[in-house]
Assembly symmetry: C2
Homo-oligomer: 568 residues x 2
């Protein structure tokens, strides 16, 4: 395997079947045992690896764009007696620590995406557990709005990670059990130590599932409940489906290129230089034009390209620890008073405006905004240092400004590069409506709210300047950027910031960034990525789990794990 690709489409699925019947879609998990992404394990009992989850992610995405008529998605299994056995243990035991952690992160994002579809897209997920759901299988069900479990005296839900593997459920299970489903914490404790789990009435009484349904009534109950969910859905109307056409991507050893996004990989400096291009043309007038443009509509295209790039770099380029974020718009020169053509920033704000005007009434506008939101959230939980560079010719406006606000730091050139282009228009950033609500982080706040946590007046001052191009002096004063060196200091300051980052402990940087990026309130999402992931990282890494005598390695060998019993 040279590198992992996240691009796929239903015609290429090996593990999932997608069937649509009116407002109800059914996603059936039927994992090909021999279809593992990496050699060395069989995907028995509907267990999954990254490859299986890439298909699930693709299906969840496509349902939103390619099946606007769908209002309920039933997640079920194509196997007898088993819904899903969770992440494949042999795969986990054989994987490196970074692989395991990255795999968990991606699966978490997909499950959060399922919840986002339920909450914000009017596509409500129903877990139809026609057999046992254990570990990650039950965690997948927990991401659904409701859970039906067949009541046949053998099917159960379980979190056997702790008793069998000496690790935690890695995809939000603990958090969702108590914080989403409100299972009482002492019952949750018992449940999570009982490898065989619970089924039937007790699983319902403990709130682990919503209903236990006898097999004779199963089909009927699933159909009834999915139609009920569909009729309660607030899925927006709008135009016809949009096809998510194959991404135009080229990948060499030192560059990844899409039409609007590119990344130059510098392995020596451990840096990816990422550039996002503003739209060339003006925003369309109406949603009809957006439907006509389909997947080539600039905001949607950018979201898809950025999404794929983030996943690619995270998975395949673990040693590239710093991502430098740039945007490009007009190369334009200083002050063109007689020009009627809008600037690149104005064009981005116009695209944003069109989407926001229609997001409450048109499914496609809504979906594109939600996709932008999820893609930016992916950046927030990416364990790489993010540094935004704001230079003449850049276009950090509205949705693109979020890239700078997501960064750990930003540098904005004060003035212009006198030696290079003394007549250039100095860089400006523009705050727009897209920065003021529609793209919240996982903590429920906008990036601006997080930035100005506890300082309402600073936030108000920024809001007052919305839609205005703000040059470095203003942007610095308003707190929108970190530093504003002039062209004499620029190269040196930026070089030091980037080089320094590569010299620090990558682990400590990951921890630092994970803490600072999510100041403020916590949500199920931040708990999963901040708290649960951190514990899991530690537990996965300890010899009690991953050592030669650890529980992960011992599983299935008949040997008992040999634990260091000291409590830490």
């Amino acid at each position: 395997m040279s590198h992992v690709e996240f691009r796929t489409c239903p015609a290429n699925y090996r593990h999932w079947k997608l069937a649509v019947d009116g407002p109800v879609a059914t996603l059936t998990m039927d994992v090909d045992e021999q279809g593992g992404l990496v050699p060395g394990y069989e995907l028995k009992l509907n267990s999954y690896d990254l490859g299986v989850d890439i298909e699930l992610y693709d299906a969840v995405q496509r349902l939103r764009f390619e099946h606007p008529e769908v209002k309920t998605v039933v997640l079920t299994s194509g196997k007898e007696k088993i819904f899903c056995a969770g992440a494949n243990i042999r795969m986990l035991a054989a994987s490196s620590h970074p692989w395991k952690v990255n795999f968990c992160k991606f699966t978490n994002e997909t499950r959060n995406g399922i919840e986002d579809a339920t909450e914000n897209s009017g596509q409500t997920y129903l877990a139809a557990l026609n057999g046992t759901a254990s570990g990650g299988g039950y965690e997948l069900a927990l991401a659904c709005d409701q859970i039906l479990l067949v009541d046949d005296r053998s099917s159960a839900v379980s979190l056997p990670e702790l008793p069998l593997l000496g690790v935690l459920p890695g995809t939000g299970g603990l958090t969702r059990v108590v914080d989403k489903r409100h299972v009482r914490r002492d019952l949750a404790d018992y449940f999570s130590t009982k490898a065989e789990g619970l089924g039937g009435k007790k699983a319902v009484a403990w709130k682990l599932v919503d209903e236990a349904v006898p097999r004779v009534r199963w089909q009927e109950a699933v159909a009834e409940r999915s139609l009920a969910l569909a009729s309660a859905s607030n899925r927006l109307p709008g135009g016809a489906a949009i096809e998510l056409t194959a991404l135009d991507k080229s990948r060499t050893d030192d560059a990844i290129t899409y039409p609007h996004v590119s990344a130059a990989l510098d392995r020596t400096r451990a840096v990816a230089e990422i550039t996002v291009r503003a739209p060339d043309g003006d925003a369309p007038e109406s949603m009809a034009d957006v439907y006509a443009a389909g997947a080539s509509f600039w905001p949607l295209a950018v979201a898809r390209e950025l999404d794929d790039l983030i996943l690619d770099l995270r998975t395949n380029e673990t040693e590239i620890g710093t991502w430098v974020l740039r945007t490009t718009g007009d190369a334009g020169s200083r002050a063109r008073p007689d020009s009627r053509r809008p600037t690149a920033s104005e064009r981005v704000l116009a695209y944003d405006g069109l989407l926001l005007e229609n997001a409450a009434s048109d499914w496609l506008a809504n979906e594109i905004v939600l996709y932008l939101k999820r893609t930016l959230k992916r950046l927030d939980v990416t364990s790489r240092s993010l540094i935004a560079l704001i230079e003449p010719g850049s276009c950090f406006a509205g949705s693109l400004l979020e890239l700078a606000l997501a960064a750990d730091r930003s540098y904005m050139l004060f003035g212009v590069f006198e030696d290079i282009d003394p007549d250039a228009t100095p860089a400006a950033v523009s705050v727009g409506p897209m920065n003021l609500g529609p793209l919240p982080m996982g903590n429920g706040l906008t990036r601006l709210q997080t930035r100005f946590l506890g300082d309402e007046s600073a936030l108000a001052a920024v809001e007052k300047r919305a839609d205005e191009p703000l040059e470095a002096a203003d942007a610095e004063k308003l707190g929108l950027i970190t530093f504003a060196p002039d062209d004499i200091d620029w190269a040196e300051e930026v070089r030091i910031a980037v080089e320094e980052r590569s010299a620090f402990s990558p682990d400590a940087l990951t921890g630092l960034e994970a803490n600072y990026r999510f100041a403020g309130p916590e949500t199920i999402e931040t708990k999963i990525f901040g708290r649960l992931t951190a514990w899991q990282n530690w537990i996965f890494y300890r010899p009690n789990a991953s050592g030669p005598d650890g529980a992960l390695r011992a599983y299935g060998t008949g040997k008992r794990a040999d634990f260091d019993r000291k409590r830490v």
Copy 2:
């Protein structure tokens, strides 16, 4: 060192000086370089180890009880040019992973206690940084209500852990910088990578400190501000100081015993059997009696004994992974309708009642409730499995019921042990006002609110039964206990629960418990113990920090750490 003792008193301090001048106390850190708790390092530059922090903890506690007149506490240094250099690096580099983590936990609890004194006791802490505060030194300052830094062009505050040591600040620094002091996250990022830190006006502008004071005005500024804080204090009135007399404790290899609390240590089963005794006598009538009883007043004595026991077991008995919690009250036999003597549970509720009646008007009543709160919080963050056993003769009422509510699970005998004492009064639990507000967990909720998260009606049903002795059937129905086996099943069920716990991965249990105990909202406190600690556990454990070529080991050797650059 056979074991670490947390009992000390000002006469024995080696590292701190406590001086009281009317409403202002000054705690001066002046660490004895040769006074390390463990051989092998010198405590240079006011760096600290567990021994130094044990004295700080003692001083903070005693100020609350032995100096009721104190309204402001100034934390400062007895050294020239340095306030505090943080945790000693050689000590950290030489310590085992469990030692480091336990040390960080205790220092965190002390800093949270400083914030609790400021917020709830009317003893406001002022950090008077008469020299550089780096790492844990700055984190200690961050726990204070206000921070003054001398402005002399060399004194600075800094968090050099990441750039110098490849770890995170371990005592809440990252969280407090952004969530308490509201330093902008990108500035915080820069600050935390700049080993030498920041001082003067910039430190003020970035909100890292409250004021930078020229040395000529230093004494005056500290005096002014401390008096201003004292005059704004809401310290309650009441009687004279209470002396926290030496704890009556005996410790053998298999037992730790105090007047009201005892622990039997079973190393084979890896279990500590902890028993807390209800008061023998009735609650006093008035606070005057409480002042007369002083440190022997039952709730205060129990809090102190439990506090010391928790710290002792956590630090010295890391392989004892399960704590079984019992209470004892009346041995009493079934139904004594003509007896006028209150039951043990009634006595506990009366003690609770006396405290709560006076907590808003009397400093001592307030302090005892706060001490109970902090001690129970210590239990919540203890990385041991907690199992409460509720049997005939037990006394889980009011404040003592919190022990069962803090447990991961509870077992309550249904009926009596027919073979042992068929005439015994069946066990009952009693909810009282102490369970309904005054003893919140770190998440800001009571243990009952956390238990019934998202289920208001279950909580209301429990509240309705307040003050009533609830036998097993009722307690189970109300959700106050986990399981209610009868005497035929009791021994076997309890044995399995305890034995099973000892067989699981201790790391996974720690992670599981840390997640389930803190369902619901997050606060600075839960972020520190849940999120930051978990990241720190992981980072501390990785070879990039603690391996032979890791940053912690390389520090001060002139060698550069050799990092595995893969981002996880």
